[in-house]
Symmetry: D2
Subunit: 345 residues, 4 copies
């Protein structure tokens, strides 16, 4: 009954099999192998667009490398004030960019508020040497609150970015969950909505350790390979990272895994909605729930062996505390039902 | 008949099995799992010393993080002028240290010459604000020329380092190959020889992507975890990195794999010694050979399907070129014999 | 009638004389001269404490070097959300620290709110590798709103810092103005109030280009000299920077200059208080005023040749805008009176 | 009788006067003043070319900012192995570039050897992610050995750079001394010889603290202003830096000062040439001499009050040591004669 995180779960069997299949004799290293080469075409097909794709092994690497490619040291990355890149990566974007500034912008349910974004940009005039120069916007899809930007919401934000000449990055650690939630195409949720570069996550949704940085304008990727190497993120046995991504995309595994996780999150949300003492803190659009529960309930959950993370939020008090519950490709329906049973009891 | 690099080969079956075995349900992420926790004790046992161990997934990450922990931005890392960290990592140590300087020192067969080391140190007086401050020495074992420092050679260098207050790092990308070559204990080749921090490589010797940074003085490791996270090298599903390291050490797999690679390198060297037109460029102590061959021979090799890297060296001319040949845990004796046959023909 | 900034004014005659006096033949360079050496004792006397003093030439250099000495790359500097180091130095602290994060904290009139500080610290648990580690607090005295922290307010903040093991830096670009305002001793406003390192500003108060970084615990300064050199802030003809600081302290020039500026700011504030349409935005404790005025008034001021900076603030609207007025050591009383006359007309 | 360095001397009277003259009331700060604005045209005139000019206050700042503008973090700066930027700036270029690598190239008398440069470039293939990417060449004129590149020598080096697409920077800390030595025009020694960016030094030749970074292609300077601010090198009272540069150029002060220093160096060299026991280590083209002298002579010099720096060189032994002697705009002929007298005695 583990709901701590989707990364607490292991590897999807299809992906493990692909790793084993890739273990066939000697092949060129550092990404010169056939599996890695095939990825370019596969991603181009999926995204219906020319792309430059770079496999890496962690989400932090994907995000920090993408942002460093888009942002000079004197630049600013606009992001939600609760964005993972801002508060959960120990300063990785600052390290990779050589000291650019992340500027947190407010917005309900972890979605950037367009007006707040414009207000933040207004404080940093272009060309004024005293302030860092806004060059990059990053949005997380699905968000850190488990919500999903609508295409309209995305376009509104990327439109503001375009107006100031900012490149737009999407942190897609849970990209598949968002895609399934919106029911749109990968193209619609990315370049058609104004996204320039995507951190395409697979690890949380069934891979062992595999993410892809996807540039929709390959010209922007011109120095990515050097930055990746220099950061220690170019794997010598790259085929095993690429094989994960290939299997992840094959037979819609990524979409099936995400659909499973989202459905269980929905089931959990629906169940919690019937519990008087439970208060969902944000709409449950993908596979994360933030719910405020009485301390007694939390105690019962822990005693029943449930795993989850406390997630302190404004409004918490001595009696009621917010926790995060995450479902994954491998979460079982029976665990959801059991959790609901404990909460309702 | 691939001799391009040991990282061209895949994963040892024992390690692939261990990855599959580790795929059992939900466990704490980011290294809080049991497999990762067990590693501390396992390495302490192997090295007969208290240690702090941090798994990472690439050798560049291991080296750059280790050096960054030991070296302030205004520091200097003394290394061989052909050291991997200096010439093959696209400036990773400079990035991770915040701009420290790597100072290349000469020495035959990729071994640092003690006198050249002392001369280099003399050019950077302690406390003189005009020059960077030497704080770190790094040695590669086995070296970039496939040689292995004797314990006496190591102690001579670490003694010089100690005299100037330098910390000593060992790049052990091919640690097992060197260990097997010397026939000494891991302790003897590290802390007993004055090594403070070790990049313990497993990838080249049969792992998928696994290295360990081993601190023999855990007090030095105080900020390593932050640096690793910040560099995107803390894996959420860490158990799969740690499981590789565990299987690597189990039943002496690491030593058996290295012994196999070294033995084939020896067989290759012995065979080449009988060929008049072949000139070994350095003693073959481990699993790498650098040999100068006539262009005609190289052409025949290529036609026979042999894989190898040209390795330009001083003394090469229009007729004779140096190449590198690397054997691995998975290299087959018959490939060695076939290569020798082509060379001799 | 220039009120744009105190740095729009030139050099106090006493300081220009000192520069000329220092131009006597050949002396050791890079700070080995007698004038620079004397500074240590002079500052120790003024601050009644052992100190390590380092002259630099700009406030940004002083702040960024001081913060870099106190903050590792994975560290966080807590500061007011409007702090100069955060919004007006184009990311200098991020550059000098190697990518540490500045965390803006709210508080009225540019004074850090203690509760907001504690709340911010609570979001960054010590030892949690996912977030940057709070290591440093910086306060500006006088503040960016022209207010001055009382000694009690300072101690409350530094007490919180001490509780979390943070070092405390004071940005004293307008240190003398604050000191004169409080009427306390330099010791009381610094180390006795929990300040570890001070950027002691002189440029805005009559120097040509001279600041001093003052460490109250010289042990903390151990790597400052290397960082200063490496940043290009060690002057070869250092005597001319040091001579400015010496003259600045001689005969209480610094206090007299600041008292003059503060008195004129007070006269300006008192005059504006009598004008119905003028709204001071913060108490006028030192030499800066932030006042909201009708657009018509601003137009009249401009036509009369008054120099000032617009300073957009929440609450400004189509009719009324906030501007900043700064008085300096060289501002004339008649200019203040004339400005008041225009505003009142 | 001080020959330690040209920066041991103070400020030329004309420059001190200009500083005093610039101290006239309130003017816009941060380089928006008239004196600074005039500099653009003045430099364009002097160099017979469109330029973008940025005043800074130290040579290290000029060099490190220029190199950072030309070099990405994964780039390499080719320089002489004894270049000031490489061995005497405590890693400033590494800091400002975010960790680029300086690659030292050999060459007699501190002049880069063209063949050695080509050989170094050959070790770093373009596009190979394993090595840093050569992007920049920097030459020092006059050199660290007091020699001066001929225009032909410069063109040979810049031609090689051009062939590899490298930008070329000139460290002109002693630019005027070299110019006077060659007797050519500023244009001939810079853009006509393939120089893209120049650190134009004034401090060593009579300024208090003033250098200018001169871009011959203003498009390259696009982010310089942000980098300068971020490094703490944008002076609020910029007029006082610019006034130094203006006075330095007026009435050929810079050329007269340099001619004086060079003439005395020549007189010194000619005198030493007559002393049997003295061995000049390099041609004396500008205002620095490196001479090997018997220890007894050095002792006599010290006793006579002569100031100079020991400068250990290969070939020094127990009996003979190399020292550096530098003449400046303010060195007196009588001091030169007295030194010669002591040496000859």
């Amino acid at each position: 009954m583990i709901f701590t995180s989707d990364n607490a779960f292991g590897v999807a069997p299809e992906i493990l099999d692909a790793i084993a299949r890739a273990n066939m004799g000697a092949v060129p290293s550092y990404g010169e192998d056939e599996i890695t080469k095939r990825l370019q075409g596969r991603f181009a097909e999926i995204f219906e667009h020319e792309v430059a794709v770079f496999p890496v092994a962690t989400g932090t690497a994907a995000n920090a490398l993408a942002l460093a490619t888009l942002t000079p040291p004197y630049g600013a990355v606009l992001c939600h004030e609760h964005a993972h890149v801002h508060v959960d990566e120990c300063g990785a974007p600052e390290m990779f960019t050589g000291g650019a500034k992340l500027v947190g912008v407010s917005g309900a349910a972890a979605k950037l508020d367009p007006q707040a974004l414009e207000a933040a940009l207004a404080t940093m005039p272009a060309g004024n040497v005293h302030n860092v120069q806004p060059t990059t916007l990053t949005v997380t899809q699905s968000t850190e609150s488990g919500t999903v930007y609508t295409l309209g919401e995305l376009r509104r934000l990327t439109g503001i970015a375009e107006g100031r000449g900012l490149a737009v990055h999407m942190d897609g650690a849970r990209f598949a969950n968002a895609l399934v939630s919106l029911g749109c195409s990968p193209a619609e949720m990315t370049w058609k909505a104004g996204i320039d570069v995507l951190s395409f996550g697979a690890t949380k949704n069934g891979a062992l350790a595999a993410e892809a940085v996807v540039f929709f304008d390959p010209a922007r990727a011109v120095d990515f390979a050097f930055r990746r190497k220099r950061a220690g993120h170019l794997f010598s046995k790259m085929r095993f990272v690429s094989a994960q991504l290939e299997a992840y995309l094959d037979d819609d595994l990524w979409l099936r895994n995400a659909a499973h996780a989202n459905a269980l999150a929905k089931r959990l949300a629906d169940g919690l909605a019937l519990v008087n003492s439970a208060r969902l803190q944000a709409p449950v659009d993908a596979n994360e729930l933030f719910v405020r529960l009485p301390r007694g309930t939390l105690k019962r959950l822990r005693e029943a062996g449930a795993g989850f993370h406390p997630w302190p939020m404004e409004g918490d008090d001595a009696e009621n505390r917010t926790i995060r519950l995450v479902t994954s490709f491998a979460t079982r329906g029976e665990d959801v039902d059991r959790l609901l049973q404990v909460v309702s009891s």
